[in-house]
Symmetry: C2
Subunit: 622 residues, 2 copies
């Protein structure tokens, strides 16, 4: 068993594909982790904007904002259920948008999601590691190294295949969901028992006094936009339908139901607890800063072992939430590559049957982001959610078009209504998010998306051009099968030269042996006469022509190239085959002892050559 | 005029070689700078060991030690005059030793000199820059960068050719020699005028009181060994005879005469001044440390403009003394490569007719040393001189053998005596230097020399092996000229495939088209039937065989390789020609859009293939 097999698992045969499919339980961590973990930071994102209103202000507006978010989430849930059923072979936003609204809409969704996936991978890992470093300040100098280590681990698990990553991520996911649900249940029970006014075990820090008297609509919208971060990752399941066991759509929908239900319970429960316990967000630059989630868990349970278990599982889940990007990005890249907008390598399945090049690409971009920001990616958070909502909107709009086209579908009216509602709701949210976050960094997305689309169009143009130029609808042409003119560069007479010359004689009756002569060289003519010309004419063979090319500046390659190009020019109907003898050494370092001119000549022939010049490598093994 | 031409000069034709030859005036800076500049540090090297004897002790032993050094230098001069006449095509130690004493002796000299040349290049530059940095402490953080800059400048001048480097280095050399000669002349005149007791313009620092009562022979020997550093670089001219204009030997000898005469005058004059003005060396760790040369010039002239001019020209000459290594190393490398003990690239003349690869190699090693020691190479100084004296001894011993063999030479007895005296004198000096400096670092040379010799023998063995295996004393064999079996991997039918297939049909009547099939692929058979089989059999062409190879793990390359190797195995008397269609893109980035499997397959065929497998590249240009 070699190292490769040990790290990545044995290669899987193509016929094993069915066994790699996952059930509902494995689907939840794989496609749900990103969505579920947003319960840990979504509420805080919204509440932090309400700080200036003081405790009363927060209490007053918390429930309406989260009500709106939960309604939106519910609409999205029903919309995506329909997408999953309608697209059992994978209904990612790119597929749905491009099939119904055209490639432009599809590419817009794809570009937006690509940015989002790279961000998810980088920001998820960075958030987890940042929390770990806050707990153990001694690790601070190693922030970037830790980020890259977590990235490497996630990549390794992913390269072992979809099924295995499900198993690995199951425990942290269930621990995360379990501890949060217990917190919510116990908190609500205490609150109800105390008639809505429970006494916190650990008192929350006193909220700042209100500095703002009147609530503006703008602030409310911004809080809502921030809270929408809790909704990213919802589209993951629809993109990964093919990963599930048959019946695919039903299993995928079950996983989606569980994920959304858990998310709704956690979000609703946590906002109720915040209201009941009188918890507000803290300013992040407060030296005693704690996250809202930390205050909540401490208020319900105090700072005992359960507090630390919960916070620990939150950290683990956060840093592993990057995994959803690794599950989805390669599938999306494959869907785009299938239409020719991404390099074809994204179509290849690796040794463990997943689309490994998508994993490599995502790893590369995420590592680049982590290195560029030295492992601290807080500044990238405003870029989040825009991609997701752009994709949501395009996907839902695509579904509307889908139902308009399928006139004989059952319950078409209801389906049309649900996806229409989804499209409008996510579209409005997109505008809110875009406006609210534009100056904070969303403008970067606005620049990046068109750039990515331009690159994808460039790729498509290239592939179309190649296909047009090489397409051959006609059967093989059997005319003009004239042997090529053979050119053999030769400096001395040895077994290597002999082998090349013999091969040349096989290929054509028109062989030209070219020797490059310096001012100071002794001629090659007498060797030629003795070793080739005399014996060949004696046996009545057609004798190859010896061409002597003169070199003024001691270079070998350029006079050779000149001769070959001129020969090709003078024989417009013929092919020219250049035979290059090549010494193959036993050890790599022996290459330093031999001129690498043959390699250079090959490269030159490729770069300066054309359709009619063919290179034949005659290897000589020592 | 492109950048290359601007930096390095236009390429020179081989027939221009005669014009590149230099006269005596240019030969002095090129081959003499290393030797001449040793006048600047040689005396100090010896005097620093005499410090414990106090001023009286120094005064007493200075003249005997320098007397011995000057006698040795004179012997060397006459010996090398004879070498230059006897070897007008370059009489470097390697040539003389290997021709007269065998390759072992030659390689010993070569290995020692190689170390010495690399040291000369690195230490010369470092010494110059160190002095510059002492004068301008603000430059201190940039020591290494400055060293590499000076190295780059020297390399650039050298790559322009021998003649040009002579012109560039002429001014600093003559300034260095001129200022030192004036100092010596004025100093002696003052001393004579003051009846041997001149009054210094700037008083030398008071010498330390004697801490040692009796002089040991050991100390005297060590001082002599250190002073011998003044003699390195003497062999440079004999190695570079071919660089001179005709009559080569006479011109080279004139240059040698001028160099040695100047060196003797400077060394004798400076030691007389030291004695007359009562100057001793200072401890290098003294915070007020000045070099002996600086004290001498200040004593004769005071610290006026002439002092600064002299010291400046010393610095310039020191850092440029590295140039002698650049003039000599490539010639020596060529001489060794001619005998097969160094890679053959050292035989090639570059665009400006010099042996550029020797320049590159020396630059690489010198840069490596400078970087490894961060630009401060003081610790390498003890390694000096050993290589030079080992080479002197072997060269002189070789000359003795030379005269013994040439029995009809005129004045053979005198010549034999001179070279014999040289061999004995330098041999004794070598032993003294080796013993005196062994623990200070000379042991490194003792390890490196055998290692270098072993590498050179390895190279020779490789070349001999290749020559033996490829030598072909017989004329071309005209039997068994059977066409190869042609193998063409094909995945689809397009113009590229058609081109490859048509070329295959030209080469042989036995063509096998191989297609790799996955579990999930649709077959290639119907395309084959329509596009190739049907039309070909219709025109009564022999139809190529379509071979379908099955791939369980979706890899293309390994089933292909397996098939090719098996085919080759089953046809032991046939050649197998693998035709690989290759897409040539217009822009480098387009390579990312296409599978690079063809390149991998080429590499695999080269590595796993054998004499009977030939690769034919069929390029397709977009």
């Amino acid at each position: 068993m070699n190292l490769f097999d040990l790290l990545l698992g044995k290669p899987l045969a193509t016929s094993d594909a069915e066994h790699e499919h996952i059930g509902v339980a494995a689907g939840i961590p794989i496609f749900g982790l990103d969505g579920l973990t947003s319960a840990a930071y979504g509420p805080e994102q919204a509440m932090s904007l309400l700080v200036p209103l003081g405790l009363i202000g927060v209490q007053q507006h918390l429930i309406p904002i989260f009500g709106a978010i939960l309604v939106l989430l519910t609409i999205l849930y029903f919309s995506y259920r329909q997408t999953i059923v309608a697209y059992p072979n994978g209904g990612g936003s790119f597929t749905v948008a491009s099939e119904n609204l055209g490639d432009n809409a599809g590419l817009l969704a794809a570009a937006a999601l690509m940015i989002d996936y790279v961000l998810t991978a980088a920001v998820g890992i960075s958030a987890g590691v940042t929390a770990l470093v806050s707990a153990f300040p001694a690790l601070h100098p190693h922030q970037l190294a830790l980020c890259l280590l977590v990235l490497a681990l996630i990549v390794l698990v992913n390269l072992r295949g979809v099924k295995e990553s499900g198993f690995v991520f199951m425990l942290p996911t269930f621990l995360f969901v379990g501890t949060l649900l217990i917190t919510v249940a116990v908190g609500i029970w205490h609150a109800v028992a105390a008639h809505g006014h429970p006494i916190p075990v650990t008192a929350p820090p006193p909220p700042l006094p209100a500095t703002m008297q009147y609530l503006t609509v703008w602030l409310l919208l911004k809080a809502f936009a921030n809270g929408c971060a809790a909704m990213t990752g919802v589209e993951a399941v629809s993109n990964g339908v093919t990963a599930f066991k048959e019946p695919k759509s039903r299993n995928a929908n079950r996983a989606l139901t569980v994920i959304i239900a858990l998310l709704i319970v956690m979000l609703a429960g946590l906002s109720y607890i915040a209201k009941a316990y009188g918890i507000a967000a803290m300013e992040p630059d407060n030296p005693a800063y704690q996250s809202v989630l930390s205050i909540q868990v401490a208020a319900v349970f105090g700072r005992g072992w359960f507090y630390f278990l919960t916070m620990g599982s939150v950290l683990a889940a956060l840093s592993l939430s990057a995994n959803t990007a690794f599950a989805d990005f390669p599938r999306m890249a494959r869907a785009i590559a299938l239409k020719g907008y991404m390099p074809h390598v994204f179509l290849l399945r690796g040794r463990r049957l997943l689309f490994s090049h998508g994993v490599y690409a995502l790893t590369g971009f995420a590592a680049l982001l982590l290195i560029a920001f030295d492992g601290v990616t807080d500044r990238l958070i405003p870029l989040y959610a825009i991609g997701a909502f752009l994709a949501f909107t395009l996907s839902q709009a695509g579904m509307v078009k889908h139902w308009l086209d399928h006139k004989d579908e059952k319950h078409r009216g209801v389906k049309l209504f649900l996806n229409g509602l989804g499209a409008i709701a996510t579209g409005v949210t997109l505008i809110v998010v875009l406006v609210a976050k534009f100056t904070a960094g969303a403008w970067i997305t606005a620049i990046l998306v068109p750039a990515i689309i331009a690159v994808m169009y460039g790729i498509k143009r290239h592939y179309t051009g190649v296909a047009l130029q090489t397409a051959d609808p006609a059967p093989i042409r059997l005319t003009e099968l004239e042997p090529p003119i053979v050119v053999i560069p030769m400096a001395r007479w040895d077994k290597i030269s002999e082998k090349a010359l013999r091969f040349g004689l096989l290929m054509s009756h028109q062989v030209k042996v070219v020797t490059v002569q310096n001012d100071t060289d002794t001629g090659f003519d007498h060797v030629w006469e003795e070793m080739v010309r005399a014996p060949m004419s004696q046996h009545s063979f057609p004798v190859p022509e010896l061409v002597t090319v003169h070199s003024t500046f001691r270079t070998i390659l350029s006079p050779l190239m000149d001769y070959i190009l001129e020969l090709e020019d003078q024989n417009p109907s013929r092919k020219v085959a250049v035979l290059l003898p090549e010494l193959v050494v036993r050890h790599w370092w022996e290459n330093f002892l031999h001129n690498q001119r043959v390699q250079l000549l090959k490269l030159l022939l490729l770069l300066k050559g054309n359709q009619r010049i063919v290179v034949v490598n005659i290897p000589w093994y020592l």
